[in-house]
């Protein structure tokens, strides 16, 4: 993982999120208040705009700058959670050395663990963590390098999609949708959908490299 990788992924993700913006907005209006997509779009724009400031910086420093940008520029739950994600990724040890696949897995796992801690949400609560936690668990298996990387990433794509779809029939116990009780059932969680799209985009891009 390099700063260039982060920037190019942010650009890829921005395209995919923009393509699916109206779907995510509609999901949020069903069970939330409709701000999630704007927060995600604002965050991606801020990260993409950071390119000139971070492209020549060491990985750890640019992750910290992304974290502060995301934290101060988005707001809402997404800002706090994604800010926490990047801030914790930056704390992974030995980032000044070559960051190989195994290290990159470790960084993402660290980031997702910190999000879980910050949001105090676990799987089954109809949030983005329903997608991210299983993905993190799978990355933990792949980290050792005993398995073919591309095969592993294809599995992650599948897991993310299944878990995103599974939020449809859940009762929400965390986040804005939790106020709805039974009425939240039958709707996919917008945060789970945006997270799944992000995971899907990154994995596909790595597989096709």
């Amino acid at each position: 993982m390099s700063v260039n990788f982060l920037i190019s992924q942010a650009k890829n993700i921005q395209i995919v999120i923009d393509e699916n913006a109206s779907e995510i907005e509609a999901l949020d209006q069903n069970i939330g208040d409709g701000d999630h997509i704007f927060n995600v779009q604002r965050g991606l724009k801020l990260v993409v705009e950071l390119e000139k400031d971070i492209k020549n910086l060491p990985l750890q420093k640019s992750l910290n700058m992304i974290a502060m940008k995301v934290l101060s520029g988005i707001g809402g739950s997404s800002g706090a959670l994604f800010g926490t994600f990047f801030m914790s990724m930056a704390k992974t040890p030995d980032l000044d050395k070559n960051v190989n696949f195994s290290k990159a897995c470790e960084m993402i796992i660290t980031g997702i663990n910190a999000m879980k801690e910050r949001g105090k949400a676990d799987v089954g609560e109809k949030t983005m963590m329903d997608v991210l936690i299983p993905v993190s668990e799978k990355l933990n298996e792949l980290k050792s390098g005993n398995k073919d990387m591309k095969e592993g990433l294809s599995e992650i794509i599948k897991i993310a999609e299944e878990r995103m779809l599974a939020t449809k029939d859940m009762l929400a116990t965390k986040g804005r949708a939790s106020f709805l009780g039974e009425r939240a059932k039958g709707h996919i969680d917008p945060g789970a959908r945006s997270s799944q799209l992000i995971i899907d985009t990154i994995c596909k891009s790595v597989i096709n490299q």
Binding site: G34, T173, G175
Partner: protein, 330 residues
């Protein structure tokens, strides 16, 4: 969407600019990071109160910055929690050394961002979380009840105690008492439109109402056909009384809050209906507040908040206050 807008991206900035100009005698608006603070410095030894949340609930919270209430307010984008750097900067700006009490409405985004702000602020600080909305079931395993209109009462009452030298611990304790003693129920007749979205947050029929609505247009307990005001008010009060269980002849404050799009004429009618119903149940209304204080953009609707009052609460409610949206006694 029909709104006074030049450019969606400038919506908040221009609104804050206007607020700063209109109330330059009381407050000052700081940009990047955004926060509203009192014009004058916090006096030494006084605990600072800071609140904040998404914009779109005006006058909450910026309209409550001033003598006897808040020291600073951090406005986020419309309906989005403010960011930790705003809380950190506001705390650094207003803290006189006696500590900072953050007043936070119970929404996941607000909780997380305020928590991070508090972690980033090196001075002494504590937080209270308001969760007065009886429309939502409370549970330790869930996000729990929403913090809505009673936040206004918490800010006024704790603000008075802080102004009169209450310590951080005493302020927190009083805030928690006010929160525990209050219950709120809201009803919406129409949706609101978030400027960035450009269309209403939810669809609702001409003859329908959302019972138990939140302050962001998020759905409530149920969708119903609209009924007479007396019936609606009765159902709202029933939900509140069920939760608060006030004693006979217990003193209360009755707060009828407009969601932004309902005229005061109707709010006073609601107040009248609520008074009659409460009187018939032997509940004494000692204090009143009627108006648009905790709004949801242009949504039509209202919430009713009942606060059980003891002498400490009553004394601090009556104390002088001078903010953009609330002023008496001075």
């Amino acid at each position: 969407m029909k709104k006074f807008i030049n450019n969606v991206d400038d919506f908040l900035k221009e609104s804050l600019n206007g607020f700063g100009k209109a109330h330059a005698d009381i407050i000052k608006v700081n940009f990047e990071p955004n926060f509203i603070s009192r014009k004058s410095k916090t006096k030494e030894g006084k605990v600072s109160l800071i609140s904040g949340g998404g914009s779109g609930h005006e006058p909450m919270h910026g309209g409550f910055v001033g003598h006897g209430m808040l020291d600073a307010a951090c406005p986020g984008f419309v309906f989005s929690a403010p960011t930790p750097d705003q809380m950190q900067a506001a705390a650094e700006h207003v803290d006189s050394g006696a500590g900072v009490l953050f007043i936070v409405k119970n929404y996941s985004g607000d909780i997380m961002n305020f928590q991070m702000g508090a972690e980033m602020y090196s001075g002494k600080n504590d937080s209270i979380i308001t969760n007065d909305d009886v429309a939502v079931e409370d549970s330790t395993f869930t996000t729990g009840r929403r913090g809505v209109a009673a936040t206004v009462l918490v800010e006024k009452i704790v603000g008075s105690l802080a102004e009169n030298g209450g310590s951080l611990e005493e302020c927190k304790k009083l805030g928690e008492k006010v929160n525990k003693n209050s219950g709120t129920m809201g009803v919406a007749f129409t949706s609101c439109t978030v400027p960035a979205a450009g269309k209403p947050t939810f669809d609702i029929g001409n003859d329908e109402m959302e019972f138990g609505v939140g302050i962001h247009g998020e759905p409530g307990r149920k969708r119903e056909k609209i009924q007479s005001s007396k019936t609606i008010v009765n159902n709202m009060l029933e939900a509140i009384l069920d939760d608060l269980k006030p004693q006979k002849n217990e003193k209360t404050l009755l707060f009828v809050n407009g969601m932004g799009g309902t005229p005061l004429t109707e709010l006073y009618l609601v107040y009248d209906n609520a008074c009659e119903i409460l009187k018939s149940k032997g509940i004494e209304i000692t204090k009143s507040l009627v108006g648009n204080y905790c709004t949801s953009l242009e949504m039509q609707g209202a919430s009713i908040t009942l606060l059980k009052c003891d002498e400490e609460i009553l004394k601090n409610w009556d104390a002088p206050v001078h903010t953009a949206a609330m002023r008496w006694g001075m």
